[in-house]
């Protein structure tokens, strides 16, 4: 008799797929039902993920054989601390964005609401499948499910959205196909598609050109999906032209799951020693990540639209994760995994703030923000401030601690390039976030603080967004502080069990 809690592995996966079916059944005039289905199923899978995480941390990893077929014949789901952690991050963010999204979707694209929620749930299900599966080809199928849903979500937007969605589709397909090509090589060499099996066979086979080519192709394909520099071109347009809620769903979680596959491939399927020594793959990843950090930050400074700025900042933040993976050390991995959580929360919070601003002001142009914005929406701007401080990496917000582990990892290996990049990029982050904060919280030069301006300010009424939108924004903002203060607990109890033996 197996422990009934092990069924959580499949319990995480089922709600989004069932939810997608149920949501699609609602007619347009009952679209609130679709929203409810989205919230309920993402809430269920969030609860299952948290339960799974607790189980995996306390009882150890779960290997769930679907249909009772033993691997390598059957497909297995692997719910170890790493997988369960990513599931919890992905489902949690989606849950809050769904709660927030109802009135936004209602305002921006009312008659596309039903397919929107259905596609969003398919995206969630696909991403969870990628995280949980223990089979290489199954991962490809889930990758394509999530990508197809992602293309559809991105295409629901303004007139330019289908063009950026098409570009995303072409590059996403190249990425997924490279991954499949890599799987073909590994399959030819090892004769197995089960990740565990491959991990056991590869050291016995020794290195061969086909295995190396397979690994490199997989990393290349996943790098494209992850928007790793210089393969990030699709990301900024796709995020900018999609609707606010679509971006808020995809941006925090889409690239993170690709990062997860990178960690799985580089450290679990292959020996970390192999990735580090035989070919300088880890170094290449780290340096590409470092280049992405700087490039994304510089491009973010150049943007005038808040949404576009956040999109470029995503490129830079993905770079931190790649850098952590590239360090190929315990500190690097802790930094990368912690940063995945922190960045998901920060980005979700910032995109929700962006949506709130768009809802009330009708635009998100940075040059048109001023101090009346703060008076009109004090709570939203407070959440923005916390998230911005966390992005810059000031203690005690969450962002500081993940960067701290990356700094420790770079220091340990005496890699001063990485160290310099992390410090410089924090300064660049200061530039592009304080630019906004300055406009909102400070008076412009030479403007006197007198009665006239006081009266002018008094004339501005507070018009904060409704509670259903404000609550998720504030919750995510507050959780950045909580995550920052609780980081030691998270690292010791949750992330440390993830570190593979060979690292």
């Amino acid at each position: 008799m197996t422990d009934p809690w092990t069924h959580l592995a499949v319990g995480i996966l089922l709600p989004p797929f069932f939810g997608a079916l149920v949501a699609a059944l609602f007619p347009d005039r009952r679209r609130n039902g679709a929203w409810l289905a989205a919230v309920v199923s993402s809430g269920l899978t969030f609860a299952a993920s948290l339960g799974g995480l607790a189980y995996a941390v306390i009882e150890g990893p779960v290997r769930y054989h679907l249909g009772g077929w033993q691997p390598p014949m059957g497909i297995e789901l692997v719910m170890d601390p790493l997988a369960a952690f990513f599931c919890a991050v992905v489902t949690g963010m989606t849950f809050f964005v769904f709660i927030h999204g109802r009135s936004v979707v209602e305002r921006e694209t009312p008659h596309k609401a039903v397919p929107f929620y259905s596609a969003a749930l398919l995206l969630l299900g696909g991403l969870l499948g990628i995280v949980l599966t223990g089979d290489l080809f199954n991962l490809y199928v889930f990758l394509e499910i999530s990508s197809l849903a992602g293309y559809a979500l991105v295409a629901i937007g303004d007139r330019r959205a289908p063009v950026s969605a098409f570009r995303y589709l072409i590059l996403g397909t190249i990425g997924a196909s490279f991954y499949l090509l890599g799987v073909a090589f590994l399959f030819m060499e090892t004769g197995s598609l089960n990740m565990n099996d491959v991990a056991e066979v590869v050291p016995v086979m020794g290195e061969s050109p086909a295995t190396l080519a397979g690994l490199v192709l997989i990393v290349l394909g996943i790098g494209l999906k992850m928007a790793l520099f210089p393969m990030h071109g699709w990301l900024s347009d796709a995020y900018t032209y999609a609707t606010s809620t679509a971006t808020a769903i995809i941006a925090p979680i889409g690239t993170k799951v690709a990062a997860y596959v990178l960690i799985r491939t580089c450290f679990h399927m292959f020996d970390p020693e192999f990735v580090r020594a035989e070919i300088p793959l880890a170094d290449i990843l780290g340096y590409l990540g470092a280049a992405g950090i700087v490039w994304g930050s510089i491009m973010a400074i150049a943007q005038n639209d808040l949404k576009r700025m956040l999109a470029f900042s995503s490129v830079s933040q993905v770079g931190y994760i790649a850098l952590g993976v590239g360090l190929a050390s315990p500190y690097g991995l802790i930094g990368a995994v912690l940063h995945t959580l922190n960045h998901a929360v920060m980005k979700a919070c910032l995109f929700l703030v962006n949506t709130n601003l768009h809802q009330r002001l009708g635009h998100t142009r940075i040059d048109r923000l001023d101090r009346t914005t703060r008076i009109r929406m004090p709570w939203t701007m407070a959440a923005f401030t916390v998230a911005a401080i966390s992005m810059i990496g000031l203690p005690p917000t969450a962002g500081f601690f993940s960067k701290w582990y990356l700094v420790l990892g770079s220091w340990e290996q005496a890699n001063y390039v990485f160290l310099g990049v992390i410090v410089i990029s924090s300064l660049l982050n200061v530039v592009y976030f304080f630019r906004v904060l300055e406009k909102v919280y400070l008076r412009s030069d030479g403007e006197a603080y007198d009665d006239a301006s006081e009266r002018e300010d008094a004339g501005v009424r507070r018009e904060e967004v409704r509670a259903s939108m404000l609550f998720p924004t504030l919750f995510l903002g507050a959780s950045l502080l909580v995550l920052g203060l609780a980081n030691a607990y998270i690292v010791i109890h949750v992330i440390r069990p993830m570190i593979p033996a060979g690292l």
Partner: protein, 124 residues
């Protein structure tokens, strides 16, 4: 060299298809031609799996008295073929979404040529 060409001719052809597909996707200016390139690219990978599963003097994996099961070499490995069935389905879905997007683009901008499209998008 000749041997390499002769023994691996299937792989050479597949590699050529792969490069043609990649070229079509990345270099061609017409969005429809990009989709065509994408289909060629995906199919080349499908062919790679099928070609890798091939064995001389082996037959389909169906029980047959003439081919005793004791000798595994008598049968092809059916796994790559089944995998590729799934990959074909995935490919069809992607092409479907791509066409839907192309229709939406054409409705919005009246063109599928990339340079013109960029110009009209900049005008917005």
């Amino acid at each position: 060299m000749i041997e390499l060409l002769h023994d691996y001719y299937a792989y050479w052809a597949i590699m050529l298809l792969l490069v043609i597909g990649l070229y079509g996707m990345l270099i061609k200016k017409n969005l429809m031609k990009k989709v065509i390139g994408m289909v060629i690219f995906q199919n080349s990978i499908i062919l790679l799996f099928v070609a890798a599963a091939f064995k001389w003097d082996a037959t389909v994996p169906v029980l047959d008295a003439a081919h005793p099961t004791e000798n595994v070499a008598n049968y092809l490995n059916p796994l790559p073929h089944t995998l590729m069935l799934t990959a074909i389905v995935v490919g069809v879905a992607i092409v479907g979404v791509a066409f839907a997007l192309l229709i939406a683009i054409y409705r919005n901008f009246g063109t599928l040529e990339e340079p013109e499209l960029m110009e009209r998008m900049r005008g917005e």
